[in-house]
């Protein structure tokens, strides 16, 4: 019963047209940005990281000298095509919902014997170093290019993750009383010149997913959603969330399920 209803929602959501371009066209500066964003997307340095990620995926590495080719991203061991578009999802082996990077890190730990602490020490890209999970998640994401986002809501823990993520999204605390919703809970707002999509609405929630992982023009580094959420919490004046923690998987479940039905365009380019 529940299952059928969920499918019903997915269908109704996918019928909503993608409104990003229309919503932005009103502002001439944003329209100019969008026009050149398309040119940038045609030849996106993200592809360099995608290639690196593919090499890493196939290479025998770590204390166990194993590749990641047996990693189960949710569609069975070794299936990469389309897996990203269906994450986050529930994984029985860990009895929790995992987002793409959380699952890749899990595979690096279990299959290759690499330690979590090692991966969590400096998990974000800098000018001198791109962490391996970032390249890997770029490769995995690219294999869902052009597919519909379909983060499932079948397992009870997937539905719990959605609701918990929603509560986390709206939780105000910290020095400035901010929550995620302070910036991303209303329509047509912006910080300085940066438009702020309202992630509580399906037609705008896609903008939390689209373009990530993204090649960031500032600094010229590749970043994943793990970085984006981390930097949101920094600006939210919160303490720091753990790398690939369940909190972040829950938040990603909330915004991704809201974006279900939209077509994912692959790794993107960001300001």
């Amino acid at each position: 019963m529940r299952h059928a209803l969920v499918l019903g929602l997915a269908a109704s959501v996918s019928a909503i047209p993608w409104q990003h371009a229309a919503a932005q066209a009103a502002d001439p500066t944003a329209a100019e940005f969008d026009k050149f964003r398309e040119i940038m997307e045609q030849d996106n340095p993200a592809e360099l990281f995608e290639a690196k990620g593919e090499e890493l995926w196939r290479a025998r590495r770590g204390p166990k000298n194993a590749s990641l080719e047996q990693c189960d991203l949710g569609l069975g061991p070794g299936v990469v095509k389309g897996a990203y578009a269906q994450l986050p999802r529930y994984f029985a082996d860990v009895d929790r919902v995992m987002d793409a990077e959380a699952r890749i890190v899990h595979c690096m730990i279990t299959l290759q014997g690499i330690k979590y602490e090692e991966l969590a020490k400096q998990p974000f890209s800098s000018l001198v170093r791109t962490p391996e999970p970032v390249s890997l998640v770029t490769y995995v994401a690219a294999q869902s290019r052009g597919m519909k986002i379909a983060s499932p809501q079948n397992h009870p823990k997937e539905r719990d993750a959605y609701q918990t993520g929603k509560a986390i999204f709206h939780y105000r605390a910290g020095a400035f009383d901010f929550s995620c919703a302070s910036c991303h809970g209303a329509d047509d707002k912006r910080i300085r010149t940066q438009p702020l999509p309202n992630f509580t609405k399906p037609e705008q929630a896609i903008r939390a997913v689209q373009g990530w992982p993204g090649y960031r023009m500032t600094g010229g580094v590749m970043h994943s959603l793990q970085w984006r959420l981390n930097d949101c919490y920094r600006q939210q004046r919160f303490p720091e969330p753990g790398y690939v923690s369940e909190t972040l998987s829950a938040l990603l479940t909330y915004v991704t399920v809201n974006a279900n039905g939209h077509v994912y365009r692959g790794p993107g380019i960001k300001r």
Binding site: D43, N44, P45, E47, L48, A51, G219
Partner: protein, 106 residues
């Protein structure tokens, strides 16, 4: 060693549309690192493209080219199966050459 380039060469008639992505820091010599030390200049200076071994395009560039450079150019007289290679060299003498086979007209 430098990471591979990503080269795309697609035919429109007998003109090959060549687009290339290069992995390179393109340091301007004006940026400071975390310790406050100036990061020395490190940038691609020359780019050469060859079609079946014959030079068809080359460029001299400065550190003002963006990090992880992207270039596109168009080569005349190309046909499916031709080999297109691109070489860059930076100010430290590092070099990288990659090659693609031009596909059929799209």
């Amino acid at each position: 060693m430098a990471d591979p380039m990503k080269i795309r060469a697609t035919l429109q008639g007998d003109v090959a549309d060549v687009r290339v992505l290069m992995a390179h820091p393109m340091e301007t010599g004006q940026r400071k690192d975390a310790a406050g030390k100036i990061v020395p200049m490190h940038f691609i200076q020359t780019i050469t493209a060859q079609l079946n071994g014959k030079t068809v395009f080359n460029a001299d560039v400065s550190q003002a080219v963006s990090r992880n450079p992207v270039f596109a150019f168009k080569v005349k007289g190309a046909k499916p199966g031709d080999k297109l290679s691109i070489t860059w060299q930076d100010n430290k003498g590092d070099k990288r050459t990659d090659e693609v086979v031009i596909g059929a007209a799209s």
